[in-house]
């Protein structure tokens, strides 16, 4: 199911990481991760994705790599601890997929979770909580002038 807040579509079958603006689909201890529709828009057109080549096991909040847009670059921080078991080759080849199909072909990584039990508390799934969080975030991004009029 999908809810619409302003023009942004949020799938309610997914979890959301409110700190890093990821959507997260969890299936049998593996988290598939992509960008929230707000942050994909306010980052601008993505041009490159770099992954940390030193290792593949990350603690929560550690940097998995970077997301580079035309005028902006940000760390891709692990929303949950675990081992990166898949990187989306399609999005590495064509970073614009992050903008054009963020819930579909534009996913980022899959992480095999190492501490699911303790870390799920950092994610949102309740529809009402997601709504409150997302409305506040839209407001913040509006105030910063990052959203087109």
């Amino acid at each position: 199911m999908t809810i619409e807040i302003n023009k942004y579509k949020l799938r309610t079958d997914l979890f959301y990481d409110p700190e890093n603006h990821y959507w997260i689909a969890i299936n049998k201890g593996v988290a598939k991760i992509g960008l929230s529709p707000l942050v994909q828009e306010t980052s601008g057109s993505f041009v490159a994705i770099q992954f940390n080549k030193e290792k593949d096991v990350f603690a929560r909040k550690e940097s998995i790599g970077s997301l580079e847009a035309e005028k902006h670059v940000s760390h891709m921080k692990a929303p949950l601890s675990g081992k990166v078991i898949a990187k989306n080759e399609a999005v590495i080849e064509n970073p614009r997929l992050l903008n054009t199909d963020s819930y579909g072909e534009g996913w980022l990584v899959e992480i095999e979770l190492s501490d699911e039990e303790n870390e799920m508390k950092y994610l949102l799934q309740d529809e009402e909580e997601i709504k409150i969080w997302f409305e506040n975030e839209i407001k913040k991004h509006e105030e910063k002038g990052w959203i087109a009029q």
Partner: protein, 362 residues
């Protein structure tokens, strides 16, 4: 007298200048016509506008995204590595009026095209009716003459820029092929520069000079002196390879070389560094800055608070740089080649390390 350029427009597509223009991604963000943000937080109000035609630019500069022979359809070409959204000129003028308080400088860039002059005139008029933000033109010499330049001056254009880019005749022709009517002439560029200087007066004309096109440091610095003697500003750009262009696989100028050229240019412009106090080796590389002049020595110690490393651009109404082109010559993942704000302490530490001044200060 240069022959008029052919007008090669399709009659089917109406989204061309003067009714439509392209604006830089940063401008679209500043005017909130496009969502987006900068990696660092700073104020930005320099709006860059580009003429738009179906057949594009008739010039063919090997380093430019808009080059006639670069593969791909013109409307899909990037320029300075980013997309330039197409916008309705009237809508743009309205939007600029709405955001006029944050605008610092407007600039309309011509492309080499048979209609470039008439359309620049129309667009300038339209914008002038809505906002009084200082307005520059970045002109295409092959389409201009004295009368046309004078018409821009009479409209209130206060600064003129010329994309000479290459500082020597040899480098100029090395990277450009001729435009269709045979009007790509080094002398013509200089004639237009000199005419502009005559019409606009001192310190109102700027010449874009790109570091990294194969010129030597000596050629670059000699060009600075020539321009300053004529009260014309050189504006520095660091070559940034445009994918799929003829120079797409060239490297950016090495960072130490780039920083030293920024510094020397600043020392000449603001502190009168003398020509004889700069030394070159036998292949024209900068190898010495003589700091026996106490004033120059002091400036180098403090690096003027980072001013030499800020973006060169036309000023706002307060005399600060109003056209700062963030991430124009570098990617967000790279060091700021030119800073659209005053560099912070941590930036200055990086700049000092990049400069390696101990190697050239004598």
């Amino acid at each position: 007298m240069i022959e008029e350029l052919p007008v090669l427009e399709s009659k089917t597509n109406k989204q061309v200048s003067p009714d439509f223009v392209r604006i830089s991604a940063a401008s679209a963000m500043a005017l909130r016509m496009q969502s987006g943000r900068f990696s660092r937080d700073f104020k930005f109000g320099g709006i860059n506008i580009l003429l738009n035609y179906n057949n594009g630019c008739l010039s063919d500069c090997g380093y430019c995204g808009l080059a006639r022979t670069r593969p791909g359809a013109y409307e899909e070409k990037s320029f300075i590595r980013v997309e330039w959204p197409l916008v309705d000129t009237d809508f743009l003028a309205e939007r600029m009026a709405e955001h006029k308080d944050k605008l610092t400088r407007l600039c309309i860039s011509q492309v080499t095209h048979g209609r470039a002059h008439e359309d620049t005139y129309e667009i300038t008029k339209k914008i002038r009716e809505k906002v009084d933000t200082p307005l520059s033109l970045l002109i295409a010499p092959p389409v201009l003459n004295r009368e046309k330049l004078q018409s821009y001056f009479d409209l209130g254009v206060d600064m003129i820029g010329v994309g000479l880019d290459a500082v020597s005749e040899e480098t100029f022709f090395k990277h450009r092929t001729d435009v269709p009517n045979g009007s790509l002439k080094w002398d013509n560029y200089w004639d237009i520069i000199n005419l502009s200087r005559e019409i606009w007066g001192p310190w109102k004309v700027n010449i874009h000079t790109v570091v990294g096109l194969g010129e030597t440091d000596k050629e670059m610095i000699d060009c600075f002196y020539k321009l300053y003697e004529n009260q014309i500003f050189p504006y520095l750009f660091s070559f940034n390879p445009e994918p799929d262009s003829r120079m797409g696989d060239w490297d950016q100028p090495e960072i130490t070389r780039w920083r030293r050229i920024q510094l020397v240019k600043h020392l000449i412009e603001f502190h009168g560094l003398k020509k004889e106090h700069i030394g070159f080796d036998d292949i024209g590389r900068l190898v010495r800055i003589d700091v026996s002049d106490e004033k120059i020595n002091e400036v180098i110690k403090e690096l003027d608070g980072g001013t030499p490393f800020k973006t060169d651009g036309c000023p706002d109404t307060e005399g600060e740089v109003g056209c700062t082109r963030p991430y124009g010559s570098y990617r967000p993942t790279e060091t700021f080649r030119d800073f659209p704000f005053t560099p912070e302490m941590s930036d200055m530490d990086v700049i000092r390390a990049e400069l390696k001044l101990d190697e050239i200060i004598k």
